[in-house]
């Protein structure tokens, strides 16, 4: 009879599993659940995991997507506060945060329908917000003027409470996806850019020439200065030399006759140094020795 008992145990175990399945449900990481009792929402489950319920037909479980849904608005023209046309599109992330409020609003818990309604709401809030700011709040080289991120937050802050109250949707973020200008305006921007470029070309050309001239003249000036300084220095050095020489010349004062003689002789030797042809007569000592009579002064 042991065989029967094993069979019975298996049977009871399987029965228990079956009953447990009837009395429980799981919520996956990506889901939210609503439990209805006789078709009336009585409980919402926001956390993934294992849960108990009464079996059908007493309680029914509906699953909703818990994940963040993407939404992008069309690129559309919006007037800024200073009446300039701006093309703007934003993207947003939203998720069902209050299933009990979301569920009755959308038949079959349609995410697409919810997305459409949210899109309308975001667009109207976006246009409203953009209309409150000047064009320069969107693009500016001045960090203080630029309010890019602030405008995004402003739209979010307008949409968020309304979406939550009306649809049980939590809008997680709204950010600008694209910015643009109307097509006809791009032509004007190009014209302006063209002019600006031409101005830059002229500026660079002028700058190049003037800088080059500046550098060259500065170099010339520096050269002249260097040379003048060097000349001055050389003259000063030579002056020193003259001074020292003059000091040495003082010695000659002791016997000017000798000094003059020495200078003369030196000059003579200097001038007759190289490849000289000398023509001498008998007057010049020591050739006076070669005169007719050896005795000097005989003919005089």
């Amino acid at each position: 009879m042991t065989k029967n008992r094993v069979n019975l145990a298996v049977g009871i175990f399987l029965m228990l599993v079956f009953v447990l399945l009837l009395f429980s449900f799981q919520v996956r990481q990506t889901e939210l659940a609503i439990v209805t009792t006789f078709e009336k929402v009585t409980r919402t489950v926001n956390q993934p995991g294992f849960n108990f319920k009464w079996p059908w037909p007493v309680q029914k479980v509906y699953y909703l997507d818990r994940r963040v849904q993407n939404l992008e608005t069309k690129l559309e023209e919006t007037l800024t506060k200073d009446s300039r046309n701006l093309l703007i599109s934003v993207y947003a992330g939203w998720a069902i945060s209050d299933p009990a409020r979301f569920f009755p609003n959308f038949p079959g818990a349609s995410l697409a329908e919810a997305g459409r309604r949210l899109d309308e709401m975001i667009r109207s809030k976006k246009n409203e917000t953009v209309g409150l700011h000047e064009f320069r709040r969107f693009i500016s080289t001045d960090e203080k003027e630029l309010k890019f991120g602030e405008i995004e937050l402003e739209i979010l802050n307008k949409v968020r409470p309304e979406a939550l109250a009306n649809y049980g949707i939590e809008v997680k973020f709204i950010r600008i996806k694209r910015l643009g200008l109307p097509e006809s305006i791009t032509q004007k921007v190009f014209d302006r850019m063209q002019k600006e470029r031409q101005r830059l070309v002229q500026k660079f050309q002028g700058e190049g020439e003037s800088r080059a001239t500046e550098i060259k003249t500065a170099a010339d000036r520096d050269r002249d200065k260097l040379l003048a300084e060097a000349d001055a220095e050389a003259t000063r050095i030579r002056g020193q030399g003259d001074l020292e020489a003059a000091r040495a010349y003082e010695v000659f004062q002791q016997k000017p006759d000798l000094a003059i003689l020495l200078l003369k002789l030196q000059a003579l030797e200097e001038t007759l140094k190289e490849r000289t042809t000398l023509v001498l007569d008998q007057q010049t000592p020591p050739f006076d020795l070669l005169r007719d009579t050896n005795a000097p002064g005989i003919r005089r």
Binding site: N70, F204, I215, A245
Partner: protein, 377 residues
């Protein structure tokens, strides 16, 4: 799915019931054979049941390949946090269905996103000449993307982003399309960053700065949106609109020309200055040399004079003669040609005719002739 556990339950009770029937006394061989056949077929059914049960128990055993990773959801909730939640590659043993669920994800945790909202539509057509079709004078916002710079200009920007999934549970389970959100974050960053740059900075002067801003903004958005991803690298390409590209090229050319002119001028300046320095040094040195020469010469003369002075003082006339003779002697020795003209007997000055036809000696010879003539008078 609730039928699955029911299946094995149906078998055993039926088998018990049927096994009782052969207990009745049946004599005829026909019914005995039938009961034999039934018994063996029930045995086969039993084996099938056990196998089925085994298969069911192992139904969530999975071989995770190198290219994928698996996440185990226990009662719907992922097991493990962050990157630890990823199992594999290798054998993964999880409980069968109602308890565990195995979800496989791609193994690559470094992904890339590309943004082209700031780029114009590339026209694949070309003209007959092979050149690209000239762009229309305006930008149609539906086709052509662009961003606006802080100074109100239009530029084209495209970017590629490499990012790393650091929290796969968040990235894969909390968003319907997280990759698109990353791309949109990058799109936003492009507009956010170019809105504060001037056109010249964005295009040439500070592309790295723009890139840095884009990366920082993307990172900020990924964190704010809790995507569980981290920016690794952003690559940017910027370009002026094709409609005004020529004007931009002209500016670049003008700028190059400017630097060329300046470089040339600087080259000239360097050359001039180094030469001037050399020349200045040379002039200074010449001065020094002159001084040294003068001083040494004069000193030598002075020394010579001092040496001679005592001898001269002893007999000036004689000493002078001697010096004179010595000097003349030296001069004579050095002279190449010497002519001696004795005085004429009648005492008249002698007339000398010189033919001066020699090349370099001309001035010297001319200089020397008057001297003896002068002496002769």
């Amino acid at each position: 799915m609730s039928e699955q556990p029911q299946q094995p339950r149906k078998g055993p009770p039926g088998a018990t019931r049927l096994r009782l029937t052969p207990a009745a006394p049946v004599e005829d061989a026909g019914s005995q054979a039938l009961s034999e056949a039934l018994r063996s077929s029930f045995f086969l059914v039993k084996i099938a049941m056990v196998l089925l049960a085994l298969y069911f128990c192992c139904s969530n055993f999975k071989f995770v390949s190198e290219q994928e990773r698996a996440v185990v959801l226990r009662f719907g909730r992922p097991v493990g946090e962050g990157e630890a939640a990823l199992a594999g590659p290798g054998l993964l043993m999880a409980f069968p269905y109602p308890i565990d669920e195995v979800v496989s994800l791609p193994a690559a945790q470094i992904l890339s996103a590309a943004s082209s909202v700031g780029w114009y539509m590339e026209d694949p057509r070309t003209t007959a000449a092979g050149a690209a079709v000239p762009p229309r004078p305006t930008l149609n916002p539906v086709q052509d993307g662009y961003t606006l710079t802080g100074d109100g200009n239009i530029i084209h920007v495209k970017a590629t982003l490499r990012y790393r999934v650091i929290e796969p549970i968040k990235f894969y389970f909390n968003f319907t399309n997280s990759a698109e959100l990353v791309t949109n974050a990058l799109n936003n960053a492009l507009y956010h960053a170019s809105a504060r740059f001037t056109v010249d900075d964005a295009l040439r002067r500070n592309l790295a700065g723009l890139q840095e801003k884009v990366a920082a903004r993307t990172e900020e958005l990924l964190r704010e949106q809790d995507l569980g991803a981290q920016v690794q690298q952003v690559d940017l390409v910027t370009a002026p609109p094709r409609q005004v590209k020529e004007a931009f090229d002209q500016v670049t050319a003008a700028e190059n020309q400017r630097s060329e002119l300046i470089n040339e001028a600087e080259g000239y300046a360097n050359n001039i200055l180094s030469r001037a320095k050399g020349e200045a040094e040379a002039r200074r040195n010449r001065g020094l040399a002159d001084r040294t020469r003068l001083v040494t010469e004069v000193e030598a003369e002075a020394r010579y004079f001092k040496e001679l002075l005592p001898s001269y003082n002893q007999g000036p006339e004689l000493f002078a003669r001697r010096l004179q003779a010595e000097t003349l002697g030296r001069v004579m020795t050095n002279a190449q040609e010497k002519f001696f003209l004795p005085a004429r007997a009648d005492g008249q000055p002698r007339e000398v005719r010189l033919q001066l036809s020699r090349e370099a000696q001309k001035p010297k010879a001319a200089l020397e002739t008057p001297k003896p003539a002068g002496h002769s008078h």
